[in-house]
């Protein structure tokens, strides 16, 4: 089975080689066939060139590149990456090293074992920062408050199939599931990840979880301004009234 990792990049010239190497090591030692699809939105820092040199080192069958003319948004980056991928299972994650590839084999194991459990086959495994064994490095209390508050609001107002981390972006999907869900998603920003799980639950897909550790961005700045919060609440309300 081939696993496709879709990495949307914008100004990730520093992180991309490292995440690629770690992904390569993780998959090779677990003896899993993989490919990485880099979706670059014309990064001014020449991330594209970095991706091309990585392609020479790791091989064209391991690194695919989709270059887009500008910053076109995460949703369309995922769609473009999906289209260029050939794997039966898809991993969506951040390219900035906040997500560690070592959790991918754990997600695969949860997905594989799920067919034998009473609750049934799981189509999505979501990395959760909120369960025991998970967590975050580098967040102050205020940041934790906003994250927990946002997640509580979403789990209270929406039907989310038991998922504990709705705004997380590190997940393993069966191809059929993400291909069906992604076109239905309309929100932007933090609500985007949440909407994926809401639509998944709506469509009858089951969601499993693996605790993950999230290391807040090393080379970049986190963006959580008033704008993002308002966009999130808008997305929440929209889902509340339409699902």
């Amino acid at each position: 089975m081939l696993y496709s990792v879709i990495l949307p990049t914008y100004n990730e010239r520093e992180n991309l080689p490292i995440i690629t190497q770690i992904l390569h090591d993780t998959f090779t030692s677990a003896k899993i066939k993989y490919e990485i699809v880099v979706v670059d939105d014309s990064s001014p820092d020449k991330t594209l060139e970095v991706a091309q040199s990585l392609q020479k080192i790791f091989g064209k069958d391991h690194i695919r590149i989709v270059s887009r003319p500008g910053k076109l948004g995460l949703g369309s980056a995922y769609s473009a990456g999906l289209e260029a991928s050939s794997g039966q299972r898809i991993i969506l994650m951040d390219a900035d090293l906040s997500h560690h590839p070592k959790f991918i084999p754990m997600m695969i194991e949860v997905m594989d074992k799920s067919s034998k459990t009473k609750t049934g086959k799981v189509d999505i495994v979501s990395g959760t920062r909120y369960k025991r064994g998970g967590g975050v490095a580098g967040w102050d209390t205020f940041r934790k408050l906003t994250s927990c508050g946002a997640n509580f609001l979403a789990t209270f107002l929406l039907a989310t199939g038991g998922a504990s981390d709705l705004t997380g972006s590190f997940r393993l999907y069966e191809r059929a599931a993400i291909v069906k869900i992604l076109p239905q998603v309309e929100s932007k920003g933090y609500a985007f990840q949440m909407e994926i799980l809401v639509r998944a639950h709506n469509d009858g897909y089951k969601i499993g979880e693996v605790p993950i550790t999230f290391v807040d961005r090393i080379y970049g700045e986190s963006k959580l301004g008033a704008n993002e919060i308002i966009m999130y609440l808008k997305g929440l309300l929209q889902l509340f009234f339409t699902t």
């Binding site: 080689p17 190497q21 080192i57 967590g135 408050l145 927990c148």
Partner: protein, 125 residues
């Protein structure tokens, strides 16, 4: 479970059920008051009841007033209770939120290892 029952339908129905219960409580106030009075006088010893009453406010009347007030402010109590639930859930989550400094340290080391491997393969930073 798509399409038919939307989330806001669910919340609206819960709201309407609550309103129906509230209305029923008002309509049955005398019966409810009597029930509460008999339960309280059966459970609480008369000495304690005496302590909390005054000549102008005998136990039965005090209980009746309490019942009426509780029913009148039911929605306020419900919203307040909900708010308390939300606040305590979030504060609990924040309090038990795990800090993984070890992960950050481990990551730094792995970054150095990865850089070495990449340079050995000919990658130029």
């Amino acid at each position: 479970m798509a399409g038919l029952v939307l989330r806001y339908h669910l919340f609206l129905s819960i709201g309407m059920i609550f309103l129906a219960i509230w209305k029923a409580a008002f309509e049955n106030l005398p019966a409810i008051t009597k029930a509460v009075q008999s339960v309280v006088t059966a459970i609480v010893p008369s000495a304690t009841l005496e302590q909390f009453s005054t000549p102008s406010l005998p136990p039965d009347v005090a209980i009746a007033q309490g019942v009426e007030e509780a029913i009148r402010y039911m929605p306020v109590y419900a919203i307040f209770g909900l708010g308390m639930y939300a606040l305590s859930s979030v504060l609990y989550k924040v309090a038990t939120f795990e800090d993984c400094k070890a992960a950050a340290v481990e990551l730094n080391k792995e970054i150095e290892d990865a850089k070495k491997k990449l340079e050995a393969k000919g990658f130029k930073f």
